[in-house]
Each structure stands twice: as structure tokens, then as C-alpha cells.
Symmetry: C2
Subunit: 414 residues, 2 copies
């Protein structure tokens, strides 16, 4: 048994206790974590400075440095986030359903934690605290494997977290950090089916793809959003323009922002010049199909690749389609099953679009940007699932649980 297997085995043992911890104990632990983060901020910032020095020496990009950087305000925000999770309702123990069978057996379907969750993420130290808090509150043990560039920061945060757990009377092995950030070790983590129940990768497309390719432990895929806005021929064009623009420009770097704008040929001649002009004024690069360019000749030509690209940037691919069925067809070919929107005043078109588009969240007359745990009212989220098993869309505390059947009898045999 090597170091990682021992760590995972200890995490499972700690989880077997944690699974039945009551809400009060878990909330006390979260309070202790929030306090510890504030109390230990000097040590955490010093560790972060070591990571930052190394990142600068390695010539990392300003955006990378920005994501890696901690400061007093960010540490306070982490601590506030932990307290917010403490304030959310505990999903564990809910009796989801119960019924009696003719033979007298009474069956209860009870919500329980998933078990040991492996979180694999990049160099954002805030994920360390977020993920630990969400796992803990939902009764799960967490094994965190952060990026090597944030190792010192993560280690300092983890020291703080684990001391807080001990102080609250929980086994500190409920949360731990993988200390060896080599590729071999992360690959081993992905295959520890004996101890790890679920993997949740958080990060870019490359990271998620690598986990899906290598893991034998079940994975919940998150992120990866090629989201579409479809402007139907029958719609309030002013509202459609507002939503189509906002879904791209309000925060282009996130997965729920739109990448492709589809416009019904019935109104393209009128709608496109106004809408694309506003986008251009807001600094968006437009890449259009031939029919778009016939109307707005200044638009750059889109290539086949554009329809499958998540830009995460101020770039918008735009296509003219012949009605709602053609829009649905395009989305089901090129979408990533994340978030899709139709803007229409025709309720039959809206119904058809919502029924036929294969995605976690399908909007009628609203922006795709609302696919978010906070916006859905879940309070917090660990990610947005765009696969179909287990959970779809924003994953809050409830989505970090499973169920178990508890059956009571008086000696029934079969």
C-alpha cells in the first residue's frame, strides 16, 4: 500500500464515521474552518507568495497569476463562503419516499452521502476551500488534488482546514490533499475504485477530458459549454437582442455564456444588422455563415470548426437557420448538452424547443447565463454537470448525495 492508497483508505474510514454525523456537528466544523482561515491568514498568504514567486519565474500568464493570487479580501471571501454553506439545509437523512409491500415489508428510500469524493482541479486555491465545505456539509469525505502551481497555498489551506476539523471533534481525514502532484499519482487516484466513490474534475476542457479518458472511478463531468441562443421569427426583437447580446458579453469566460447565435431566416434581414452592430460596438468579434455575411458583409467568415468551439471570449459565431426545427437540429449536433435558449412569442415553438433540445437547461425568453447554483436557488454549487448520469446542470448539496433503501420486516423470506 503506497501513500495515496493509505490516504484513500483513511478517507474511507473517516467517511464511515462522517456519514452519520448530525447537522450540528458538521456546521460546527464549518464554523471552525471559517475561523481558522481568518486566524491563519498570514501563513496562508506566505505560502501563496511562494507559489506566486515560482509562477512568475516560470513565466506564467497574467490571467494565471490572477487566478492563483490570494489576499486578505479573498481569504475573507472564502471564510464567508464556508459560513454560507453552514447556513444551507442539510440534505442527508431525508426520507425521499416510503411505501409498504403486500408481504409486509416497509421500504424507505433515504438520502445519504455519496462517500469519498475525489476532486481534481487546477491552480485555483479557492476550490480547495469551496469543495471541502460542500463535501463536508453533504456528509462526504474529500480527497483534493489541486494543481502543482498552487501546491504551497493548498497545503497551507489544508493545514488550516484539518486543524479546524480536529478542533470541532471530526476526524481530520474527512478532508485531505494529495501531496504528490505527479501525473502517475493522479492517474492512480482515478483508479482507486475500492476507496473512492466519485470523481469530480473542475477546470478546463483538457483536464476534464483527461479524467474521462483515464478514470475507472465514476466521473461527473462539468463545464464544457458550447451554448446557443436562438432568435425565432416570431419574437419581441428588442428583447431578443437584449438577451442575445447579454448572453455573450456579460461574462464571456464562463461556461454558461453563449457561443453561437442562431437567427431565423424569416427575420434575419431586419434583426441581424441591429444586433450585430451592437455586438460590434461592445467589442465582440463576429464570425458568420454565408447567409449572415450576405446581410452584413463586414462579418468574418466562420469555419466548420467555429460551430464546435467554446471561445470563452468576446467572439460569437452567428448562423441563419430556417426555423425552429433547423435550430434544434444544429444545437443537437453542436451543443455540449449544457444550456440553450429560444427567444420567441410562439408558445408551440418554445414547447418544441424545450422538449427536443438535448441539454441540462433549456430557456424560453431568458439568458443561458442563469445556469448556476446560486441563480437556481441552491445556495452554492460544486459545478455544472453536462453529462446525463446522476445530476444535470448546477450541482448543489443535494446533488452530492445518493440514496439507500432501508427495509424493515418481521422475518420475510423469499
Amino acid at each position: 500500500m503506497n501513500a495515496l492508497m493509505e490516504q484513500a483508505s483513511r478517507a474511507r474510514a473517516a467517511w464511515l464515521e462522517l456519514q452519520t454525523a448530525d447537522s450540528q456537528l458538521k456546521n460546527r466544523a464549518l464554523d471552525c474552518i471559517a475561523q481558522a482561515l481568518t486566524a491563519d491568514r498570514e501563513d496562508i498568504l506566505e505560502a501563496n507568495r511562494r507559489d506566486l514567486d515560482k509562477a512568475r519565474q516560470n513565466g506564467m500568464s497574467p490571467a494565471f497569476i490572477e487566478r492563483l493570487t490570494l489576499n486578505e479580501e479573498r481569504i475573507q471571501k472564502m471564510a464567508d463562503g464556508v459560513l454560507q454553506v453552514a447556513g444551507l439545509p442539510d440534505p442527508v437523512g431525508e426520507i425521499m419516499e416510503e411505501w409498504d409491500r403486500p408481504n409486509g415489508l416497509h421500504i424507505q428510500k433515504v438520502r445519504v452521502p455519496l462517500g469519498v469524493i475525489g476532486i481534481i482541479y487546477e491552480s485555483r486555491p479557492n476550490v480547495t476551500v469551496d469543495a471541502a465545505a460542500l463535501c463536508l456539509k453533504s456528509g462526504n469525505a474529500a480527497i483534493l488534488r489541486g494543481g502543482s502551481d498552487a501546491f504551497e497555498s493548498n497545503r497551507a489551506l489544508m493545514d488550516s482546514l484539518r486543524r479546524a476539523l480536529s478542533q470541532a471533534g471530526l476526524n481530520p481525514d474527512c478532508v485531505s490533499l494529495v501531496m504528490d502532484t505527479s501525473r502517475e499519482t493522479v492517474n492512480q487516484l482515478m483508479r482507486l475504485n475500492e476507496y473512492v466513490d466519485v470523481l469530480i474534475p473542475r477546470g478546463g476542457k483538457g483536464l476534464i477530458h483527461s479524467v474521462v479518458q483515464n478514470a475507472t472511478v465514476p466521473v461527473i463531468q462539468t463545464g464544457d459549454g458550447v451554448c446557443h441562443v436562438y432568435v425565432d421569427g416570431e419574437c419581441d426583437q428588442a428583447m431578443a437582442q437584449k438577451v442575445a447580446v447579454s448572453a455573450k458579453v456579460s461574462r464571456p469566460s464562463v461556461c454558461n455564456s453563449a457561443e453561437t447565435l442562431l437567427v431565423d431566416s424569416a427575420i434575419a434581414q431586419v434583426f441581424l444588422p441591429k444586433c450585430l452592430e451592437e455586438l460590434r460596438e461592445k467589442g465582440v468579434e463576429i464570425r458568420g455563415c454565408d447567409r449572415v455575411r450576405a446581410i452584413c458583409p463586414w462579418v468574418k467568415p466562420a469555419t466548420d470548426q467555429d460551430w464546435d468551439t467554446e471561445y470563452n471570449d468576446l467572439i460569437y459565431s452567428v448562423k441563419v437557420v430556417d426555423g425552429v426545427e433547423a435550430a434544434i437540429d444544429h444545437i443537437n449536433r453542436h451543443g455540449t448538452r449544457h444550456s440553450e435558449a429560444i427567444l420567441t412569442s410562439n408558445l408551440e415553438h418554445a414547447r418544441l424547443f424545450q422538449a427536443k433540445v438535448d441539454a441540462a437547461a433549456v430557456y424560453h425568453n431568458a439568458s443561458t447565463r442563469f445556469t448556476d447554483g446560486g441563480e437556481f436557488g441552491f445556495g452554492a454549487e460544486i459545478g455544472i454537470s453536462n453529462q446525463k448520469l446522476h445530476a444535470r446542470g448546477p450541482m448543489g448539496l443535494r446533488e452530492l448525495t445518493t440514496y439507500k433503501y432501508m427495509i424493515g420486516g418481521d422475518g420475510q423470506i423469499r
Copy 2:
């Protein structure tokens, strides 16, 4: 694009229509399938005879031949099973939850089919019909990859199924058989994430292990049951003996039968001689720990391996443990998270056992053998999941669905 990719792409296209098919149409298709199976029975039996001839030439075991064999009665049973599925309630379209957000968005969580399901199974031709019917009723397309030994039978069954779908007005590509039974092709199926949403392997441990090791498409693991019966110190010993014996002998070949009997040391001296004698009379081979053998010296010694073995046979490993906590600990180390039972009159022990044992179904005073879709009242099942993502325990029609959020607004942006 090779033949399998084309098949999978057609299955996805067929599913995009099937996902919104109403219950009446799906039930009509199931009726047509049942009729077609009866009408085509001569062709099916002839194809089956070719498989049986080959199997005999290849020297397959009598048990293998028995599972492979079709006859008029078995075909009628398949057809009856299809009609039974037609009679079950359709889970698709259920509004599971709905709520309003302060910004005026109305969110509905709606039950929808999973999509394209790949079923990988061994040489039991009845799975072809069962799986197709369950997938169809729950609005899923199915790609079936059966064992090569049943290929002729499966092809004849599939011809019959697909003709019936066309006749009912559904796209026959909703159900199809992988025509190339090579290992390369099944490995490709396990990695067709673009077209296949879920894999469900049905069969022995080796098959399931191979799918888990090779798949990048999400897998629902089924089967694999090292199930325990724990007889607590405080219990109705006559009832405990009845359940402990029945859980082993009533049908030892299935995954929900017990493999290990745990007995509290407080009553071992009294309980074991009676119980093990009855088991011996019923032809069960007993393999015991040292403490069991100190009480019943005729018992064979158990090895370490026995505690992790699913015998699927009239063999029972038996161990003396010191109370309920020790029983829980043994089960959480050696169980496969399937079905576990405690026999006790102490409600606190029952509560502790049901809360702490990590399994899909945890029984108090009843046999583990009830973990079954029919016994739970689900009407039918595609398998028993012993992983934690998505579904646990018996998987009926509802467990073959996921959900999608349908959100309505009046121009909300973020």
C-alpha cells in the same frame, strides 16, 4: 465513420425523435413486438438451433447451453414480459419539481429519457428482448451487444423487433444489434461518448470489470453481490435461522443471495450448531472462522479469500463477530455495497446497522433476496446497481431516466 459509428449516429438520430414519443405510441410498439415474437417464433427457434449446434460443437457446459436455449414457452414468456412493460406507467414527462425565482424565472425539473443506452451482455437471448422493451418504454434508444455465442438468436430476435417498430410507426433504429462481436468493436462502443450516453453491462463479474476498465462512456455497474446476513445477540433465533438459511439456499446463483453469515459471539454457542446443521442438511458447504470451528468442529476452515468471494453456489462462509459494530465493520470492508441484513430485536442495533452499512439495500429482519425490481414494486428491472452514482439497487423504468430543467422567463438577463 465505420459501421459501428454509423449505427450509433443513427441510434442518436432515432432517439431525438423517440424522446418525445407519447406513451400510446410506445405501448403500441411494445404490443407489436409481443405479437411479432410470437409470429416469428419458427425463425427465431431455427436461428437458436444454429447457435446451440455451435455451442455443443465448442463443448460448452450444460449450464451455458441451458441459458442459451430458446423454446416456444420461453419465447411466449419474453412476449408476455414485453406486454407487462407496456402496462407499466410511463415515467417520462413527470414534473419532478417546479419553483419560481425572485427575478421571475419559473424553473421546472422534468423527467426525460437518458438517451442512447449501450447494453453489453453475455449469451442470454432473453436480455435482448427485456432490455429493448425497458429502454423503449422509458424513451431511450438501445444499442445491444450480446455475446457471440447467441449471435444468430439475437439477430433473429432483432429482425423481429425492428420490423415491429416500423409497423408501429417508430424508427427501427431505436433498437439495434452490434453485428460485429469482436473485442475491438465492443471496445469502440465503450468509447463512443459522442453518441452513447450510458453503458449498462449485464452479466458476470469479468464482463462488468472489463467494461469499467475500458469505458469512457459513463457506466452503471450492476450485479456483483457479496451479501451478508448478521444474526445479532438479541434476536428471535428461530426467525433468524429461517432467514439466514433461506437467504443462502432459496436461489444461490443470484446476486442478492447471501454469501457470508455473521453471528454475534453472544449467541454463537447456541445458534451456530442448530443453524449450521440445517444448512448442512440442505447441502450447503460451510467454511468457518476459527471461532466457528471451535463450536462446530466439522466445519471447513475459511481462508482470507472467502470473505471476499461471491460463490453463487451452495457454499456459505460463516464468522463469529463481537456485536453489531464488528459486523458493520466486516461488511464495510468485504461487502460489495449491494444488499445486507441484520436480524435483531434491538431497535438501536437495527438503526445503527441500517445507518452505517454502506450498501444499496439494508434489511432489518428480512432476507437480502428482496433486492429485486419486482419485489420492490417497480414492475420490471434492467439490473441491480451496486455503485452510487445515479441509481442504487433495483433499476426500473424510472432509473432509466434523467431530468432536464425547462426555464421560462420574459427577457431576463444576468
